[in-house]
Structures are given as C-alpha cells and as structure tokens.
C-alpha cells in the first residue's frame, strides 16, 4: 500500500489499473519533525499583563485638562474598599472573599459602573493601597477597574 504508486504491470496491450497508492512515508516524516519542533517550542502557560503606573505618572500620555474632573480614587485596605469621586464618597465596601480566597467585587463593579455613567470620558483611576494588602487582591481590583472601562490605573501607597 504505502510502497509507491502501483501503475500496473505495464505489459503490452494490458489495461492499466486505475487504483494508485500515494507514498505516505515522506509525509509521515515531515509530520514527525513538525510535531517534535512544535512540542519543543510550545508555551503552555497563558500569561498576560496589566499595565499600571505609579501615582504622578500616567501609563498613557495624558495632558491635564482644566475642565476634566479629577479621577476617582479607591482606597484599598485589608478590611474595606472606599471609592471616592471628587467630593463624593461612596459607602465603604467590606472585603468579602469566597471559599477560594478570591475577592467579591460585585459591589465595587456596581459603583464603578455608576461613576462611568456619570463621567463617560473618565479613563483614569487611582488606587491607594495599604501596605498589608496582598498582591493578589490588588491585581483583582486592577483587573476589575480595567474591566469597568478605567484602563489607566495608577497605584500609590495609601497615606497613613
């Protein structure tokens, strides 16, 4: 079967059979080499990045505008989240974690949605973070802010 194309006996006057076999050996060789190469170069972990800036620097170049309202500020402590926009301060959101230790951010997303409705052009948010906050929680909150259409996230230490 895989031994080459069978074109019949080639006898004089004899009818040539129509069935031909394709030689698959080079194809299998190519496949084997390709598979080895792809497995060796494969990257199995799906990684991403969250762009942040320190307070005072902006991740995206941004010119201060006089008419532009100040960005919302979120104070992150070990026990609660305090969102404030200008002079308005939202109710503190207690830190609640599920059985896997992940933050429950429904309330925060709700409040960020309200801010976004009031200030649709606002793309910045400042996260004031206390020292004891875990990096995992900070990343979850940054992720939530970016998901709530605040892509320019500044991180700064909370002033104690």
């Amino acid at each position: 079967m895989a031994g080459g194309m069978d074109l019949g006996g080639g006898g004089k006057g004899g009818k040539k059979p129509l069935d031909t076999n394709i030689n698959l050996v080079p194809f299998i060789d190519l496949m084997a080499v390709t598979i080895v190469f792809l497995i060796m170069t494969a990257v199995w972990t799906q990684l991403g990045r969250l762009q942040v800036s320190q307070s005072g620097q902006s991740a995206q170049e941004e010119q201060p505008q006089e008419n532009k309202p100040p960005p919302p500020s979120l104070l992150i402590t070990e026990k609660e989240l305090k969102l404030s926009v200008g002079g308005l301060q939202y109710d503190p959101i207690p830190i609640v974690k599920d059985e896997k230790g992940r933050l429950d951010l429904k309330k925060l997303l709700e409040n960020l949605g309200k801010v976004k409705t009031e200030q649709p052009d606002q793309a910045s948010i400042t996260l004031q973070t206390e020292d004891n906050v875990l990096y995992e929680d900070l990343v979850r909150i940054i992720d939530a802010c970016i998901g709530a259409q605040f892509p320019s996230v500044s991180v700064s230490p909370a002033s104690s």
């Binding site: 194809f27 199995w44 990684l47 991403g48 969250l50 800036s53 620097q57 004891n132 900070l138 940054i142």
Partner: protein, 191 residues
C-alpha cells in the same frame, strides 16, 4: 526444520489432496502496515500545536516559588526586563537583590540594589542602541512577576525602584483567567 511461509498447513495425509493440499495461489510474505490512522492522528496533533503556537516565545521563566495571580482583562506580555518577587526574595536577571524579610523590616522607599541593577541594564541597553544609531528605542518597560501572596509593601518598593531607575512603564504579569473563573492547569512550569 524448514521455515515455511505463514498460512494453513495441512497434515501429510492431505498434502497431496487436490482440495486441501494445493492452495490456489502462494500467499505473499510481504505485509503492509495501515498508516492512515497514524497520519490522521499526526494531522490533528500538528493542527492543535500550531493553534497553540506562540511566536513571542517564553518571556517569563516560570518558577515554582512564584504563583502568579489571575486576571482576565489583560494585554499580551511584552519582552522587557523582568523583576521576580517571590515569597523569599527579589530577583532581577537571575540575581537576588534583596530578601523579602529584610525588605519588610526596612523603612526605605526603594530597593537600592534593584535600582542599581536596573540602571546598569538601562545603560547597557542605551549603549547598545546608541552604537547602532537607534536612539529613542528605550521605552522603560518592565515586567513585575510577583507571587500572589506578597504584600503590597514589597511591590511598592519594587515599583518605586523601577520608576527611579527609568523604568516607568510597569506591567504586572498575570495568569490568564478562564471564563468560568477556574484556574487553568499549569502544565509546563519550569524552574
């Protein structure tokens, strides 16, 4: 004993029988292997691997000491210097620049060894690109690969050191979270 071709062998009594003793044609000893399922499997495997192929390669070296947090609204990771922050130490370019316990006790705002190392790296980068008349190539990108249980007090100092050394575009490396919020299995973690 003579080697015989595979097939039915009748007893001596029937060897001369016209019915049993003389088969109609001699069977070929050659046997072909059916490779069609093998080729099918190879094709599916190649398609799967090509679909998962990443042209950027491995930007971060995964360490057992560092468990990255998960995030879903992420961008693609860029090639940049990586600062690794595990539960024990802070590492840049394979060199330890501080122990987390010591850094927790200190009240400084930066990590001097990290800042110095990053300044050296920046200088090397700029010298290299100036030699090639490619000024302005330095964007100040840096990736922070930190364990999810590290406190912000360490991250804060790492960020400040990066910014002080000229690396202002800070990116936190994260694992891509699945849609259901379940962690994908990390099948290839390397030291």
């Amino acid at each position: 004993m003579a080697i015989e071709a595979p097939g039915k062998r009748y007893g001596k009594r029937l060897q001369h029988s016209k019915v049993f003793g003389h088969p109609h044609g001699a069977k070929s000893v050659n046997a072909d292997l059916n490779v069609t399922p093998l080729v099918d499997m190879f094709v599916i495997l190649v398609l799967f691997l090509i679909a998962n192929f990443s042209a950027t390669g491995e930007i971060l070296s995964m360490s057992k000491d560092i468990e990255l947090p998960e995030a879903s609204n992420t961008d693609e990771l860029q090639i940049a210097p990586v600062v690794q922050v595990s539960k024990d130490q802070v590492i840049v370019s394979g060199t330890s620049v501080g122990r987390v316990d010591d850094l927790t006790r200190e009240d400084y705002l930066n990590i001097p060894a990290l800042e110095e190392k990053l300044r050296d790296m920046k200088k090397q980068f700029e010298d290299l690109h100036n030699a090639a008349n490619d000024s302005g190539a330095f964007k100040g990108d840096v990736n922070i690969q930190a364990d999810k249980k590290v406190q912000f007090r360490i991250i804060k100092r790492v960020m400040f050191s990066c910014a002080a050394a000229g690396y202002g575009n800070i990116a936190f490396a994260t694992m891509a979270a699945s849609q259901q919020g379940e962690k994908k299995p990390e099948t290839a973690s390397r030291e």
